[in-house]
Amino acid sequence: MENGIVFSIEEFATFDGPGIRSTVFLKGCPLRCMWCHNPEGQEFDAQYVRNPNGCLHCGRCLSSGTGELTQESVGACPRGLVRLCGETYTPRALTERLLKNASLLQAAGGGVTFSGGEPLSQPVFLKRCLDLMEGKLHRALQTSGYCEPTLFREILSRLDYVLFDLKLIDEAAHLHYTGVSNRWILENFTLLAKSRIPFVVRVPLIPGVTDTAENLTSIASLLRENGVSYAELLPYNKMAGGKYAMVGRDYTPTFDEHQAPASRPELFAAYGIDIKIL
């Protein structure tokens, strides 16, 4: 399957790599991070979503009787709150759309970033797009690092920049909070560190989960082992649960959302790592 499913394209992304970037969010993710703020990016298929803000609860969107949102729901909602999330693109169509801004993106020292969801989960589409953009746009990947290492190597060779998430070093904890093991992730991180591709490591600070002294020490130590001297920390944002109602789900984290995440700069300093809090 060469086509891809995209759930959003942000033209003026300011935190997804160098310069002004356009970020493409590919739909679908094998991880289920408890703190995920893009729940509409988790399912692989296109899905109908309903923005709860302004909903009149008139029920017209459910008039099909199946209890599910359908194509009819889009036109039926008097406030236009229902939409199909997930648009199919051929690699060529997506590339053409992004290339329309190529000269501006280049002039502003930026390019394109593939994010998600987990962009590595649509590998054929991703590779094809990256090939089509070669030499025309600076190409970045924002990833959890979760994919089979052979595949990661193949993708890496097509990239100009990587934003790599490190969440939890303890495998059991990783499995518990994200639903998957981190073995591939750690292996891929080593591959990345050995490659010549410029990259940045990002660590989400989830209160009581990833921001513990133990976990951050493990991360800092891993970074030093791999010759990395800089990392970006993303403190948990209480808005993370904001989009769950839209996809008809409850947001039920087991950690304490209201506790301020700890960034522990002294700990990173001890390992000679500069940090920036985003």
Binding site: I9, G19, I20, G75, K100, N101, L105
Partner: protein, 677 residues
């Protein structure tokens, strides 16, 4: 910020001083009955000033605040107009009066009186009356300052009689001019290129060894002081008062003239966080990136400025309209965004408005059923635009004699080049430029509507002509699905030639037909991309349009994507709105982009917003308004105004306190597209 500035600021923000003001309610009809038209205005000014008492706050160094809330009034026998709103929306020539001092000006008036023929006597006498009255007020302030305000007392011993000897005295003189012109009921007067005409005084102080921070204090006191009486200034809404400065831009030799005083103005504005003076930044191909960065830091504060204008486009455009290069290069920005010439210009840049969506809509209703293809429809639209241009020009030429430009204003004339020289009031067309501007409201809505008709009616044939017109007449009642199909058509702001080409054609017809046509004051007409308040007022009378806009809903403000358009993002918007050669449509009217305030949360985000502004300028955009906005905060402020007494927002060409705006203006600001990043 010094304690003195802080004190003045807190007096301003408590707003208690407003309760001390008096209402004079002076009917001067009986006294002016026998006076000629020049003396009527001069007499009212004299009476106004005679009733003003010196208002001086503790520690005050600047002075000149309103004691009376109202103007003396009389009814003009010619047209029944009750005096009180005079000419304005221009940049007076402060420079000349500052450099001469009013004693010398008075001498010059008397000299003209002796040497010119008798037809000028009345004007010159009236002018003399105003200058004498203004000087008398300054002398009363000096007396009042004697006891407890030694610095102001000292300054007023020099200015406004004689030229300032320091930056401080120049600021006092400036405040005196601003105050007296506003007492003459002249509205929307801008402060103009403050960083250029005040530079000699600033530089001389620095050369003398005065510390830069002391000059910053003085500037801050001046800036705070111009905010005190803005609630008394006439405008469409509070905040719409024209008190803006223009910083940077080319000098007469074509070199960028952003200087240390420009920087000082930026610093003062960022520290004070006040509505006035609003900041316009002139930028060009020489502008260093550091200035965009500084401007973006200012945008971050959420006051809605700076507004950027592109010298390389504006000057070229003004020259094409017939302005001399040395005047065009000196351009300033009027109360909102119209490009005007300081000193020698008496243009009325906001006189008439082309209501694009209405013209297109009326044409659809009248002609669509008779058109076999889009080209035929376009021909009808083009005809309608030319006809509307004719009607608007006719309207302007007719209404000018009842407008403020026909109301004599000797004191204002003192600040417009050519008037004293010729012994004529500005209303006698004594100024060098007397042009009329025509706004172009709702360009995006109109282009979107035509693109939707072209696609659905003529290309896809998915909507019937009658079906569309019926749906519009019914305001889409029962045709929701049809409306969604219209909303799904190409929209301006997505870098889509299918609709952008239509906007280009609309602007081409409008500007090529209207630009340069003569007006009744010896000037010409000039086309622009602004909407002023018409995006709400005119729109509130226009039924549903084919872009999917419901009846009476607002248009986009000035030159921006429509409120119903789904746009890809700022990069596409920049490209859509720079495709036309903007030098051809240079009356003014910015592209407005709202960016969520979280984008500005660190240096990285700020740098990228600054790059975005720079991209717009490189794409040869003419004018940009970029706002940091947080929709949730605005919604909360609507519900709990008491929590946000000092929340400032950009409205159209100006900024105002959110709480002081009428509801439709508040709602429009909330609805404008946000590009979350």
């Amino acid at each position: 910020m010094t304690e003195r500035v802080q004190n003045l600021l807190s007096i301003l923000q408590k707003r208690e001083y407003r309760t001390w003001r008096v209402t004079n309610d002076l009917d001067i009809n009986a006294e002016i009955k026998h006076l000629d038209r020049y003396h009527r205005d001069a007499y009212r000014f004299k009476i106004m000033l005679e009733h003003e008492k010196a208002v001086l706050f503790e520690g005050e160094r600047i002075g000149f605040y309103r004691h009376a809330k109202d103007f003396p009034y009389y009814t003009r026998p010619e047209d029944g107009y009750i005096s009180g709103w005079g000419f304005g929306n221009l940049t007076p020539n402060y420079e000349r009066v500052l450099s001469q001092g009013l004693d010398a000006v008075l001498e010059e008036i008397r000299e003209k009186r002796r040497t010119m023929d008798a037809t000028h006597t009345s004007f010159l006498d009236a002018l003399e009356m105003t200058v004498v009255a203004a000087l008398a007020l300054a002398d009363r302030y000096r007396e009042a300052a004697k006891a407890a305000h030694p610095e102001l007392y000292g300054a007023l011993g020099q200015v406004p009689h004689k030229p300032p000897r320091s930056f401080y005295e120049a600021c006092v003189f400036m405040k005196f001019i601003i105050f007296t012109l506003r007492c003459n009921a002249n509205v929307h007067l801008t402060i103009g290129r403050f960083d250029q005409y005040m530079l000699p005084y600033y530089q001389a102080d620095l050369d003398r060894g005065v510390a830069r921070e002391d000059l910053l204090d003085i500037l801050e006191e001046f800036f705070v002081s111009v905010n005190f009486d803005t609630d008394l200034y006439q405008g469409m809404q509070q905040g719409d008062n024209g008190q803006s400065v223009v910083l940077g831009g080319y000098d007469a030799n074509g070199h960028d003239a952003f200087n240390d005083l420009s920087m000082l103005c930026m610093e003062a504005s960022m520290e004070l966080n006040l509505i006035d003076p609003k900041i316009n930044l002139r930028v060009n191909k020489e502008t260093p990136f550091s200035l965009y960065l500084l401007g973006t830091h200012m945008t971050k504060q959420g006051l809605g400025f700076p507004q950027y204008s592109n010298d390389d486009v504006v000057i070229d455009g003004l020259v094409k309209l017939g302005y001399d290069y040395e005047d065009a290069v000196n351009y300033t920005v009027a109360a909102c965004w119209e490009f005007i010439i300081p000193g020698c210009g008496a243009d009325i840049p906001n006189f008439i408005t082309m209501n694009f969506p209405k013209v297109v809509n009326d044409t659809l209703h009248a002609e669509l059923e008779g058109c076999e293809n889009y080209d035929q429809l376009w021909e009808k639209v083009a005809q309608a635009i030319r006809a509307e241009c004719d009607a608007l020009m006719e309207e302007a030429n007719t209404k000018s004699q009842f407008s403020t430009c026909a109301r004599q204003s000797p004191y204002l004339s003192l600040y417009i080049d050519g008037c004293l020289e010729k012994g004529l009031d500005f209303s006698d067309a004594a100024a060098k430029y007397n042009n009329y501007g025509c706004h172009g409201a709702g360009i995006s809505n109109a282009a979107d509507a035509l693109a939707a008709v072209k696609k659905t009616v003529f290309e896809e044939k998915s909507i019937g002509k009658r079906e569309l017109l019926d749906a519009l007449e019914r305001n889409f009642e029962g045709c929701e699905e049809l409306r969604l199909r219209l909303l799904d058509c190409p929209k301006m702001g997505n870098n889509d030639d299918a609709v952008d080409d239509i906007s280009i054609a609309l602007m081409e017809i409008f500007s090529s037909y209207l630009n340069g046509k003569p007006n009744d004051r010896g000037g010409i007409f000039r086309a622009g991309t602004g909407s002023a308040m018409e995006y709400l007022l005119s729109a509130s009378k226009v039924p549903a349009t084919a872009d999917g806009r419901r009846a009476f809903e607002p248009y986009a403000s000035s030159f921006s994507p429509s409120l119903t358009a789904r746009v890809n993002g700022p990069l596409s918007v920049l490209q859509s709105f720079t495709k036309f050669d903007m030098t051809k449509i240079i009356n003014g009217g910015p592209l407005t982009i709202e960016i969520h305030d979280t984008t500005f949360r660190n240096e990285d985000g700020i740098e990228k917003v600054a790059r975005l502004v720079q991209l717009f300028i490189r794409l040869k955009g003419h004018q940009l308004q970029i706002n940091s906005i947080n929709r949730d905060r605005l919604l909360d402020a609507q519900k709990h105004p008491e929590k946000y007494p000092n929340l400032i927002v950009r409205v159209w060409g100006w900024s105002g306190y959110f709480n002081e705006l009428d509801l439709p203006y508040q709602n429009h600001i909330i609805r404008r597209a946000e590009f979350r990043a």
